[in-house]
């Protein structure tokens, strides 16, 4: 996994609440057995019409936002299914940070496994960031994970919270299976005890 450190980039405004995983990546693209290549189908039904032409009003189809690396969105981003295809598609498109007032639980966790930083901020701050994002390609935001800050193109700074362990893994690009395997002695001990306490499992 790529290490996440500081990101300065274009932010695409998506002022919709409840952006669900079916919007992020519709199910017809879940039939892949690979993790890569989903970026072209990110937000597919909002992005293309029935003849596969781009819908010009959709934000990521506008020249200013084609290279966006950040999404600013409404409440409850990523609700719905557990499909990791959603963060895969987001990352494959080139977006590594999503900022919203709140996230659905499974999606939030999935982001960290794929080098994406989800940031939850209060609605008033999202409103400021949304306005900033609406300025287009010349307005670049900076996300600094070390300092846990988002800085608008006008230099306004917002602090955000992130779990220490998740932050560490994201910054180091760590594979958490490897980390857990280092604790396999604890798992062995637990398993042996559970086997006597609950042998039917």
């Amino acid at each position: 996994m790529e290490k996440f450190n500081t990101l300065t980039g274009i932010a695409a405004p998506m002022p919709l609440i409840n952006i669900d995983t079916d919007m992020i990546i519709p199910k017809q693209f879940l039939k892949t057995i690979k993790r890569s290549g989903l970026g072209v189908n990110l937000f597919d039904e909002m992005r293309y019409d029935d003849d596969r032409n781009e819908i010009p009003t959709f934000v990521l189809n506008q020249d200013a936002y084609r290279d966006a690396q950040i999404i600013i969105a409404g409440d409850n981003f990523g609700c719905g299914s557990s499909r990791e295809h959603a963060p895969w598609a987001i990352a494959d498109f080139g977006i590594t940070c999503v900022i919203a007032p709140s996230f659905a639980d499974i999606f939030y966790n999935n982001c960290f496994k794929n080098g994406i930083l989800p940031i939850a901020l209060p609605q008033e701050q999202i409103d400021v960031l949304m306005k900033d994002a609406e300025k287009g390609a010349n307005a670049r935001m900076t996300v600094d994970i070390e300092e846990q800050t988002v800085t608008t193109s006008d230099g306004e700074v917002f602090k955000f919270e992130v779990d220490t362990f998740k932050k560490h893994c994201l910054m180091q690009g760590l594979d958490d299976i490897g980390l857990t395997m280092e604790k396999s002695a604890s798992i062995d001990t637990f398993e042996a005890a559970a086997q006597t306490q609950r042998p039917w499992v």
């Binding site: 919709l16 919007m23 039939k31 409850n76 499909r83 362990f165 798992i187 609950r198 039917w200 499992v201």
Partner: protein, 468 residues
């Protein structure tokens, strides 16, 4: 000892490691696997030379892609990419030595129906699956939730999951349900109250008289949709009904082990004065048969209500509601009971169990599906299908004009050939009404099986109570 909730008790019994910062490794008792969210996880194991740590606790079944038409033994009924995914599961199950129910097995079905049916899901367990509706298994008093593919790989490799503890929410449904009101209406009513994000950060325990009165099937319906309210998991404390359901299932304990299990299971309830971070109480008698009007499961209203106007909402919901009304092709003020439908889908892990089929059959008995309406019933598993045939339900469905299908997810998410066309309107017993969920441009109204059956007869959204 300080009083604990059911969630606390299950959590404590599965804590394999706790780091200083509170990050925990939770031991997983059952790992359910389906074909859509697992190929990349098995591929990851292969690439890093890892094995499945506990293949005896890992159970796989293809369901999402599988055609449900009677000719599905013919491989050409599947599209190329669906076939690749199902074949990948076949291969991975063999290679890694996990339990497997192939398409040809009568026990095949939707993973969340097969797990309980085969006795894999038992009280007090931790159950995960790369699927958000894993919450279903909480009906047994097991801590069950959906995970992403990276976590699937993590569980395959380590039989644990990295977790932080969620908060506790109690949802109490007091009193008795009115005639014609079902488990589906309870769970939709809760989401209508909390909103789709209201449960975020919580594990919900459903309790109260109306929950106790539900069968195991009904309890699974309730927990199934906990995720639509944003909760990590839904739970119902096990009781005599739970034990009776589990007894004698192929993978349930027997003899002395059964007795030992029972002794422990009987301790699985929330202590009297346990601490709750949030409590919601709903009176059962206030719940009416519900339908959704919009594109979020929180968009619920009684069937007797009118389509709302966007400006009856506040904040970001105003725009979302307008978008939903446009997408759904509905006008504010229109009575829901006059909305005409094109299709009826009865099935899914929410309402694809025997009790659901019985409820539909009761309404459909001796009646006919309205001309021009496409109607299908997709049982949740091969065994549900067999039982429905034995009970004569299948004949009622076929006589009424329903297609009687083989088991799978089918039109719940339309990854197989069962899909809605743009603007086609469907009365569905599934759990998600998102834009495009049942096919691009398709319009979904969620409801109970009885309500869906009633809609099939009249050709519009219908109050099931008028048909009882």
């Amino acid at each position: 000892m300080s009083p604990k909730t059911l969630y606390d008790k299950i959590w404590d019994a599965h804590l394999a490691h706790e780091a200083d910062d509170g990050t925990c490794l939770l031991y997983i008792d059952r790992h359910l696997v389906h074909e859509v969210t697992s190929p990349q996880a098995f591929e990851g194991l292969r690439m890093s030379g890892r094995k499945v740590r506990a293949p005896e606790k890992t159970i796989a079944v293809p369901d999402h892609n599988v055609p449900t038409t009677l000719d599905r033994a013919d491989a050409t009924t599947m599209t190329e990419d669906s076939r690749i995914q199902v074949n990948a599961l076949d291969t991975n199950a063999k290679e890694f030595g996990i339990h497997y129910y192939p398409v040809s097995d009568v026990r095949q079905g939707i993973v969340h129906i097969v797990g309980p049916e085969q006795g894999w899901t038992l009280p007090g367990m931790t159950v995960v699956c790369g699927d958000s509706h894993t919450a279903t298994h909480g009906a047994f008093g097991s801590l069950a939730h959906g995970i992403g593919t990276s976590e699937v790989e993590h569980v395959l490799a380590t039989q644990t999951l990295i977790q932080k503890k969620s908060k506790n929410m109690k949802v109490e449904i007091t009193g008795k349900l009115a005639h014609g009101v079902t488990a589906k209406d309870i769970t939709m009513a809760v989401i209508g109250k909390t909103g789709t994000a209201g449960g975020t950060g919580y594990v919900i325990e459903y309790c109260g008289e109306a929950i106790r009165e539900l069968s195991m099937e009904g309890r699974m319906t309730v927990c199934n949709m906990a995720i639509e309210g944003g909760a990590r998991a839904g739970l119902i404390a096990p009781d005599e009904k739970t034990f009776e359901y589990c007894m004698g299932r192929p993978h349930a304990p027997k003899g002395a082990q059964w007795e030992a299990a029972l002794t422990w299971w009987k301790t699985l309830f929330s202590d009297e004065d346990a601490y709750w971070d949030e409590i919601l109480v709903i009176k059962a008698e206030d719940i009416a048969p519900l339908v959704t009007w919009g594109t979020s499961p929180e968009d619920v209203l009684p069937i007797t209500a009118l389509v709302p106007s966007a400006d009856s909402f506040t904040g970001g919901k105003v725009e979302a509601a307008q978008r939903a009304l446009d997408y759904m092709g509905l006008k504010a003020g229109q009575p829901l009971s006059e909305v005409e439908i094109d299709t009826v889908f009865i099935g899914s892990c929410t309402n694809g169990r025997i009790e659901d089929l019985r409820a539909a059959a009761e309404i459909l008995k001796g009646k006919k599906v309205k001309d021009g309406i496409r109607a299908m019933i997709v049982p949740g598993s091969g065994l549900v299908r067999a039982q429905a045939e034995e009970e004569g339900l299948a004949d009622i469905f076929k006589d009424a004009g329903f297609e009687w299908r083989l088991a799978g997810c089918s039109m719940c998410l339309a990854m197989n050939p069962d899909q809605l066309a743009p603007a086609e309107r469907c009365a569905a017993t599934s759990n998600r009404n998102f834009e495009g969920r049942q096919g691009r441009g398709g319009r979904t109204h969620l409801m109970s099986p009885g309500m869906a059956a009633a809609a099939a007869i009249t050709g519009k959204l219908t109050d099931v109570r008028e048909m009882m």
